[in-house]
Point group: C2
Chain length 464, copies 2
Amino acid sequence: MNASSTPSRRRVVIIGCGFGGLEAAKALSTEAVDITLIDRTNHHLFQPLLYQVATAGLTAPAISGPIRHILRKEMARGNLTVLLGEVKTIDAQARQVTLAGGEQVPYDELIVAAGATHSYFGNDQWAAHAPGLKTLADAFDIRRRVLTAFERAELSSDPVEREQCLTFAVIGAGPTGVEMAGTMVEIARHTLSREFRNIDSRRARVVLIEGAPRVLGAFPEDLSQRAREQLVDLGVEVLTGAQVTDIGPTGLSYQTRAKTADGSERLESHRLPTRTIVWAAGVAGSPLGRELARSTGCNLDRAGRVLVQPDLSLAGHPEIQVVGDLASAKSYLDPQAPTPVPGVSPAAKQMGRRAAKNLLHRMKGRETKPFVYADYGSLATIGRKAAIAMVDMPVFGRVKFSGFSAWLFWLFVHIYFLIGFRNRLFVMWDWAWAYFTAQRNARVVPDAPTPSTLPEHGGSRQAA
Amino acid sequence: MNASSTPSRRRVVIIGCGFGGLEAAKALSTEAVDITLIDRTNHHLFQPLLYQVATAGLTAPAISGPIRHILRKEMARGNLTVLLGEVKTIDAQARQVTLAGGEQVPYDELIVAAGATHSYFGNDQWAAHAPGLKTLADAFDIRRRVLTAFERAELSSDPVEREQCLTFAVIGAGPTGVEMAGTMVEIARHTLSREFRNIDSRRARVVLIEGAPRVLGAFPEDLSQRAREQLVDLGVEVLTGAQVTDIGPTGLSYQTRAKTADGSERLESHRLPTRTIVWAAGVAGSPLGRELARSTGCNLDRAGRVLVQPDLSLAGHPEIQVVGDLASAKSYLDPQAPTPVPGVSPAAKQMGRRAAKNLLHRMKGRETKPFVYADYGSLATIGRKAAIAMVDMPVFGRVKFSGFSAWLFWLFVHIYFLIGFRNRLFVMWDWAWAYFTAQRNARVVPDAPTPSTLPEHGGSRQAA
């Protein structure tokens, strides 16, 4: 397949060009190995800002770049091939992967960085009404749904339909759900205010529904409480301890627990009429996890993620490593008490670099090292001027803060990490513009289906 | 439908928010009329730069803006309603239009500015293999096809498939076809050069196929010849006098006339293997032209455009006016020798303003005036540093020029007319960046189907 490769070099195949795969490819490109990087799309995506594309604050190219362009310096070294393709099968015995079109790519070393997808916990029929947010296509779909809901409300003379259109539900109060809910309120109250005649967009409801007792459950309780207060201040209705039981075209059902007079608990059922639902509740490992299990007998956790060895390889298959969101990995800072690694981009990057180093160790006959996650803290943005932060500082130790200062910090960190993309200056400018004017520059739905012809949001056409 | 309107005011309905409809809405917003502007999309599109979105040079929001945002000042005056909807029927007797969802919008005055679409001259089956370029969705489709063709060539080990993938055909050498062909060469030779390992993108062929004897037939012969030379200099293969007879998934057929030894002519058939074809050959009036003909008995020209009265109204229906690309209009600068109005944006804008004025004249009982097209010249861009121009100057009269100076002039004019969009500064910057680096910033295909799973480019999914 590759005319210019040196056959004697070890062939490394990397599946996926998210944070983990990209770091692994970069780290290996200076070494005497022949790398093939395979991705289903032509771009690397800065996923932490994907919600900004979904809410029309940023354009797709502002947070993504063509893989070939991002890796142009690495490619110039001559040992990296990039292929646009979808890996369908992995044959751990024959040591080759097969793409959807039947092309076979042999490997000596395999790094699987295929990421995660959303999970509807067995209710896949909900997907049509409640899209998740993992890809640019997802983001455009959500952008179209949110903007079209306001248009449909303006067009409709039926008060029931209008209420459904002006109610937005976000299921799951993790980082994605919280930032989506916060930003949707901003759109309704600021961006679109005064742009309609038959409706008042500021009256739109945004309801955030979480099954656990509190939002942003990965944070300590006090920060979680700060986050909830900021959400409510912005105008989000926050429902915790609420289990979604059904999702349909015109609304969703959920249950809460209520105390009865005698002190026992009973379930109460509720209905929320809405036509726009964002699914931010469940994450599952890529289907390639199951394919790895089939081919190597490795174990998966409940979310379909691959249980890896301390050094990120598979038991019995040291030549296969799994990194990023697809890996159920532990950090061995204290080898006696390993801790689970969170599904965040710094962890994926660090795993990608660890996998590259371990691969080189093995090539040189040295021992691999267990993965150690360097945790610098956690950040979550909530909306305009609202965020929470928990940062490990050299002298002060763990510092927690929230509100405007946390938001500024979040902004700084995210723009800093966009470095490497060509247009972080643009993004900053777009953002500053959006901040001061409350305008959102990407509010364009290229192929908006007429709202009235799309009674169930069920169209398969994608807006962008 | 509109709670806040004053019932006694005249109800003006404008269909379409292109250049014509937008100008009409702006002009009428200061008057004592109640306006409803209906568009199928949520945005106004600066169509002259659409080819830049198709070729990944600009993002969609750079050349389009939400209608509600563009008209926010006009909407603040309180007499303008914007509806996202698709007009299906026009009832000229009952004076109302019906949207796809069944909503009825009554009017006293109707301005139809529904624009044009592409025509395959009766070969609609060609559309699947040769998309045209009229909407943002079209532009994303073409962007996906062009970028995916290079990816597929990189992936393929079949030399026949590789040749098909590395050959790009543009059918029709009007302004759109010429700028598409010129820009596609730039992508192959500059943007993508050195980004692939198995192919050399610079070897890609771009073939421009035109049935008429010369390119840019609306320009004088000498400028047309300059344009052809510049195309060839850039690397485009230009075929004129070539009639396309068939289009399929792996290539197209065309015929040319050749002189035989005895001086007579005979047809020669040719085949061009290609997987990426852009249709820039035929334009037809929107289907609403036929609907108007059905409802009012008005006549259409061969391209389905509505033959209007000198004042842009319909015979027997002074309350209905047609402007922009849907109108087959004449300019009455010399009332004895009216000239056809070209399908360009300045003409559409001028018609929109004329229609608004004539509507007001009629309301005040005055006579309407015939349309006079103020022609300031013509411009066509060809590619990097290449364009032709023909401009009417106050002192010098008609000035013709070509090459770098014409390209600079073209650039200046287009950026100037982007004023009114929020981000002309951005666009300039993006452009300058693209010019100096030969990089194209929007080279992202959000939802790229794996090339190998799309054997005929026939997928219905839209990239963006």
